[in-house]
Symmetry: C2
Subunit: 210 residues, 2 copies
């Protein structure tokens, strides 16, 4: 299909698609004339993924680029590619320098991982994101404990186990990685929105508004 058709089917304006092409978020089409290229279903899928990451996942351009590079790199096995794409979501934040408070919080995170018997790389960016949340809670005078984190870890365990079981493995390597990453980002958005809706419901009963 021509770029106009890709725009129509994806709902993304042509100038935005050209921006995605320039920025390497979308692979080039098959050149059919000096000034014309042909796009296929693979491009359409990629545009929808990028749009979901930007609009729903609120990812910055650098994060989207890292995710897309992980999807593209055919050299790495599928399991590793899913891992790299997941890591790319938080890579920027995890690279910030830590301090003593951060180190203490990372030790708490590791204690939780051990207790759960979750096998996670020490380089996983989510480990640092969790530690940052623990540091902020402690600074606000409400330190989290292993007990206060348990309901969150229980929920995360149940959901992640189910999601990994549901990950579609047939189709191309790129499709499987795209499926995993879009599920992570979009169901994360759904989960946090549902938590806020449930909050509103229970808060109304506890704190009548007027």
């Amino acid at each position: 299909m021509r770029i106009a058709e890709l725009s129509r089917r994806s709902g993304v304006p042509t100038p935005t698609l050209k921006f995605y092409l320039r920025e390497g978020l979308l692979p080039a089409g098959r050149r059919t004339a000096p000034n014309q290229a042909d796009y296929d279903e693979r491009h359409l899928r990629r545009v929808r993924l990028v749009r979901a990451l930007v609009e729903v996942g609120r990812l910055g351009l650098g994060d989207v680029r890292r995710v897309v590079q992980a999807v593209e790199d055919e050299a790495v096995p599928i399991g590793r590619a899913i891992g790299i794409a997941h890591w790319a979501l938080d890579a920027q934040r995890a690279a910030l320098p830590g301090d003593e408070e951060t180190d203490a919080a990372l030790a708490e995170v590791d204690a939780l991982l051990r207790r759960r018997r979750w096998q996670v790389s020490p380089a996983s960016p989510a480990r640092r994101v969790l530690a940052d949340a623990l540091v902020a809670l402690a600074r606000l005078g409400r330190p989290a404990s292993q007990a206060s984190l348990k309901p969150y870890a229980d929920a995360a365990d149940r959901l992640a186990q189910m999601e990994v079981e549901l990950t579609r493995h047939e189709g191309s390597r790129a499709e499987a990685v795209e499926f995993a990453i879009s599920g992570t980002v979009l169901y994360e958005a759904a989960l946090v929105a549902l938590r806020k809706l449930a909050h509103e419901h229970y808060s109304r009963a506890r704190f009548p508004a007027d």
Copy 2:
């Protein structure tokens, strides 16, 4: 305390504190000399909240300002202030124009709210955030159903009910609102990080990396 002491205790550099003051994220101190002001524990608490919202919650300046305004406005009752502060977290996104796909997704969200008997305002921004996630999933060829959303709604229900019960109500009105909003943002960050850690664990077993 002087601004240098506020900086030392909060870990936020003085120029950043002056920026918070200029931008209305931090209330002015008590003027003690033409070029000097005095700050108290209330200011320290506020600096820590703003820092948590920016660094862990990744909120933009406009969102933080809306949250802080909701905390400040003494005219509204506490329950309503908590609601306004929560809404402010997603206000910008919910103001985007919708289309037919969005309307259909909002109808699905409302069906879920009815089935759950969650009392939520139709103007709640989280309603729109959830609808946007459903639209993106449908576009990627993996529409969510009431059944596929159930585990997320179950987890959200359990966590929100527990969190609202734990909301501290003694202390000042501003403290209670700050407590509620920092809990929402920081435990959200903890929850999504835990989900990614659990994902990494279960993915390793399902997709051996090398």
